[in-house]
């Protein structure tokens, strides 16, 4: 039986590959591995970014398959939405 990498090591190698992919921010993604199948979670800006993340994950050693559960969520355009925070007047002002 060939030697196989354990899931934790595969997850680390997938993270390394995604970190090398300039079109994707690795911190936006979560990676888990179950029996060599990598599951990608998180948000990306576009379908192209999701494809790039899957391709990067697939390049990692030990990966049997990639389950793409990424949510494509473009950066929302500016709106008038705001939060008001009161500022107290300090002594001496």
């Amino acid at each position: 039986m060939p030697l196989t990498l354990n899931d934790e090591l595969i997850t680390t190698k997938v993270r390394e590959q995604i970190a090398l992919e300039p079109r994707v921010s690795a911190l936006d993604l979560r990676v888990t591995t179950e029996y060599g199948v990598v599951i990608l979670y998180g948000h990306v800006d576009s379908p192209q970014q999701a494809e790039a993340a899957v391709a990067a994950a697939s390049r990692a050693e030990g990966v049997r398959a990639v389950d793409n559960r990424l949510e494509v969520r473009p950066v929302r355009r500016p709106t008038g939405e705001k939060e008001t925070i009161p500022v107290p007047v300090r002594s001496g002002q």
């Binding site: 300039p22 576009s46 355009r77």
Partner: protein, 239 residues
């Protein structure tokens, strides 16, 4: 009633896809805010090409910009050059320094620095044992000292602190607990609580939540792009 509006977004991690997402955003930011604040991780991997591309977009903003570096911005050891390129586009980097702006009838002062990690409260790393541990938490202490010096010198009606790393644990909710010590440190909140501020803006915790407060009750906002999910969050400070 005097007001100042801050548009804030951290962790843009600029790359080509993000450029497409943000097209025509920065040239409209003046419609929504008086100052644009960028609490670190402006670039994806700290590359000059990313900084130059972002600078082209930031140059379209018609309002003052205040920023600190993030860990990604220093990754390739090009942070000095990145700072220069983005400063040419109009961004003022704090790194322990302060800047005071007059907006309408108000003076607003910004103090900030990148910050660093080390954990929170009773679980905060202490300078004991190996030299490497002392060096590690020493960086956080130096960052906290820079912040204290800047904040102590700030003379403004509205006081804003800008960090990349989190000064409180609340805005990390949703992150894996094992990561907390690497996402910020309460050493950063201590000088702020002592000297006072009206809002603290940070990023870095992509899976955290937007709102928290320090022990002294100062509002803390985690403005990491994946957390706010929009071009920027707008905070209107009113007195």
């Amino acid at each position: 009633m005097a007001k100042i509006r801050l548009a804030v977004v951290a962790d843009i991690h600029w790359h080509e896809q993000r450029r497409a997402s943000y097209r025509h955003h920065f040239d409209r930011v003046h419609e929504f805010a008086d100052v644009l604040v960028l609490p670190g991780d402006l670039t994806g991997q700290g590359l000059m090409a990313e900084a130059r591309s972002l600078a082209e977009q930031l140059a379209k903003a018609r309002i003052p910009m205040v920023a600190v570096l993030g860990n990604h911005d220093v990754h390739a050891r090009s942070d000095h050059s990145i700072t220069g390129v983005l400063a040419d586009a109009g961004a003022v980097f704090l790194n322990g320094a302060t800047v005071t702006l007059k907006v309408g009838d108000l003076t607003v002062g910004f103090a900030g620095t990148k910050g660093f990690c080390g954990g929170f409260g009773a679980r905060c790393l202490t300078p004991f044992g190996e030299q490497e541990i002392k060096d590690f938490i020493g960086v956080t202490r130096e960052e906290a000292a820079k912040l204290e010096e800047g904040l102590g010198s700030l003379q403004a009606e509205v006081r804003v602190v800008v960090l990349h790393y989190s000064p409180v644990v609340q805005t990390l909710d949703g992150e894996p607990a094992e990561l907390y010590p690497f996402l910020g440190s309460s050493l950063l909140s201590e000088p702020i609580d002592r000297l006072g501020a009206d809002i603290i803006l940070h990023g870095h915790a992509h899976h955290g939540v937007e709102r928290g407060t320090t022990q002294a009750g100062i509002p803390v906002r985690n403005t990491a792009l994946p957390v706010i999910g929009r071009s920027w969050a707008v905070y209107e400070l009113e007195r």
